[in-house]
Symmetry: C2
Subunit: 501 residues, 2 copies
Amino acid sequence: MESKLQELKTHLMEINDLGSAASILHWDQTTYMPPGGAAARGRQLATLSRLAHEKFTDPKIGKFLDDLQPYEESLPYDSDDASLIRATRRGYEKATKVPPSFMAEIQNHAAESYQVWTKARPENDFSAVQPYLEKNLDLSRQLADFFPGYEHIADPLIDFSDEGMKASTVRPLFAELREQLVPIMQTITAQPTADDSCLHQTFPEAQQLEFADDVIKRFGYDFERGRRDKTHHPFMTKFSIGDVRITIRTKEDDLSEGLFSMTHEAGHALYEQGTCTDYEGLPLDGGASSGVHESQSRLWENVVGRSRGFWNFFYPKLQSTFPDQLGDVPIDTFYRAINKVERSLIRTDADEVTYNLHVMLRFDFELDLLEGKLAVKDLPEAWRERFQADFGIVPPDDRDGVLQDVHWYAGGIGGGFQGYTLGNILGAQFFAAALEAHPEITSEIEAGQFGTLHDWLKENIYQHGSKYTAPELIERVTGGPLRIEPYIHYLRSKYGTLYSL
Amino acid sequence: MESKLQELKTHLMEINDLGSAASILHWDQTTYMPPGGAAARGRQLATLSRLAHEKFTDPKIGKFLDDLQPYEESLPYDSDDASLIRATRRGYEKATKVPPSFMAEIQNHAAESYQVWTKARPENDFSAVQPYLEKNLDLSRQLADFFPGYEHIADPLIDFSDEGMKASTVRPLFAELREQLVPIMQTITAQPTADDSCLHQTFPEAQQLEFADDVIKRFGYDFERGRRDKTHHPFMTKFSIGDVRITIRTKEDDLSEGLFSMTHEAGHALYEQGTCTDYEGLPLDGGASSGVHESQSRLWENVVGRSRGFWNFFYPKLQSTFPDQLGDVPIDTFYRAINKVERSLIRTDADEVTYNLHVMLRFDFELDLLEGKLAVKDLPEAWRERFQADFGIVPPDDRDGVLQDVHWYAGGIGGGFQGYTLGNILGAQFFAAALEAHPEITSEIEAGQFGTLHDWLKENIYQHGSKYTAPELIERVTGGPLRIEPYIHYLRSKYGTLYSL
């Protein structure tokens, strides 16, 4: 049996090598590739992902899994071998249930739809994308139907990115969160808006990067096993446990942009750098889910990186990096500026408090669309109504309303958004668990030290890769299910010092 | 038939995509990869090249070639389709004649041998590598024997990198060249050595790169379809016709290093950027042979880039780039410095005149070893003797003698060196043909213009990719076979202005 498992591992590693190669090609495409390389690069990426998919859906993988089932059942559930076989089976079932021709149809339609969207958005022309979106919705429904037996039609789609999560668990959680968040936001936004002009001076890029590199090094990001490059849309990417890279974007007239894209992507990277090296190149090598991944980027970006304790330590350093710009700006002003709350139109620009309202609006619409309660043609109007209800403002056009995010236009409808808010909730929940185990984390952060926190996260979360699903991991780490209370508590206590709540 | 050809092309392009992906991974490995990525990168590269090899040696490729033979025979020899089928068949026959298990044995032994060499060279310990070199020789002989019917045992090995060349053509050519070169070198080195101290000042890297980028842009290197990065051992690499990159190395205390590694690699890159775009991703996409490739790097590096005409235009610019270092250095001094000839121990540091003596020494030993006329154990002594005969000096140790080049220790014996000298000979021969067609090239170079030369090279050489073998191409371009006369004429005329010859 162990030799059969070894053989399976060899196949899986080969598939992983193709996937990693694709990631390297993609990283190069978005960082260094000259314009002339674009056409061939698209073809090369398509070849690699097609070959990886062919190899993973080869019936011999299924045969291995069948043969290994008795061995798996003889092992403890959380042993590495049983977990590997289980995770591989879950992936194999997902990959084989959908016919390749249907996946190709989805991808082709998505590519076409994306092209139409790139023109329709600047032209504020929802009607141009409407038929594409209708087809996207139809294809998303068909995709879900390849996984019969679901409770809610969105469940299989949610499961692709947040394994183990369902509409029936996420929806009530989000409803509860929204109920709490709307009044907090209303109370805050009724008060004078924070002045963030101190962030909008001229900050030369080189010094921004030097400062932010030092921050993420102190977090524990290992530059010997990663690097940081510039790109247009920041992301984290992994080629192996020893090579986990981040890409970031800076703006010379907006200090937040570079700094918080660094801490955000570093959070993702710390997770991947912390994977148990026994999992290298295997299906356990990678985060548990989109929500758990986002919990780490948001924990390091916000819970740590936008905290008062953090800046008590780092602000004097930032001031000496930018003496002309910040020398006379008191820490209170700076701290309010980086935690400014405002009702805004664009999700990706939103602050910690309002961000989830943007996400939940999209999540609810996804369910309504999939259920057939909402027609695509009525989406722009529904968007305006819900925006009015949640934010008290109405987007002046569809460009900054229903057309703003690429997700629905270049992919499917369903499963693409919940991870962001799950991540915010979970980041706070995990941080609370870490603090309970190690109350000294607070004072360490005030001293610019992150070792205890980082070690706790490695021990409890990072090392496990995707051995556990998100619900299993949350139970294991916090002793209970996903809960919004730690997050609400975190927001109330943090924003209670900045505003009257 | 045309649909069958189309199907074959689809397969070939997939194989090319795997190869290009490997090239991208390798480029990243030598430019940006953090140290932690090394282990997985080796595995990923091995997977990609194994898959590409498996796919290319799949019997279905042979079947396509058989089926297409009548079609090929119905077409003119130099039509694109016939050439594609012909080139694919040559590659297929080479790839399938050697059993994969034997290739693996060669690669494994090479990896082991390389490791031993990296220690043995600094320790000046030939005896440590001797058994590995003996096995390399044995494996090289066995490799040749997979191609029975050869005239000389080195022929199949030469053919791997210089298709269409044989010991019986190269050996007499080299003997003739050596006969002419040794007295030229002796005459020059009996005269006072050029003073090249002007090159060994402090030249900040940024200005070096700015200057050299301008030079290669003027050559015609297209930065929209390529880029330049730093590495330890410079090379050119191609991911597609639209993405041909160079990597270079600079030294702040040696102006030659960066400048001439740029012009050298740019020469290789101009060749690849000039390939006919119909060949994209197919076996015709790439240079004709190692010698023809080297002819382009040496033509742009030396024949153009170390010429008096070139510097008549560029030296004032270089002086204004480095006014403190070169402002008072007359052009004559600089020109002599960059064309300094001296008897030196190390091939890679050698000048234009002595370089080929280093190469031919190695080529002759390769033949002697393969023929069994020379035993590996006698190589160090043979090296010293031949060095004395050619250069009139004797290396003080094996480190800078027989141990200096990685080739024999990390690869096979045979076929690895002749391309360098074939390139020097050919570069001069092609340049003479270009000049004959367009005598104005000389005055254009003096004006910093390279369009006529570049266009002629594209038209006559670059666009054809590997449609023609080197002998076919030389015949086509120069109307005759490979000849040393243009090269000897070039050396005599150039060095005749610098030394009494």
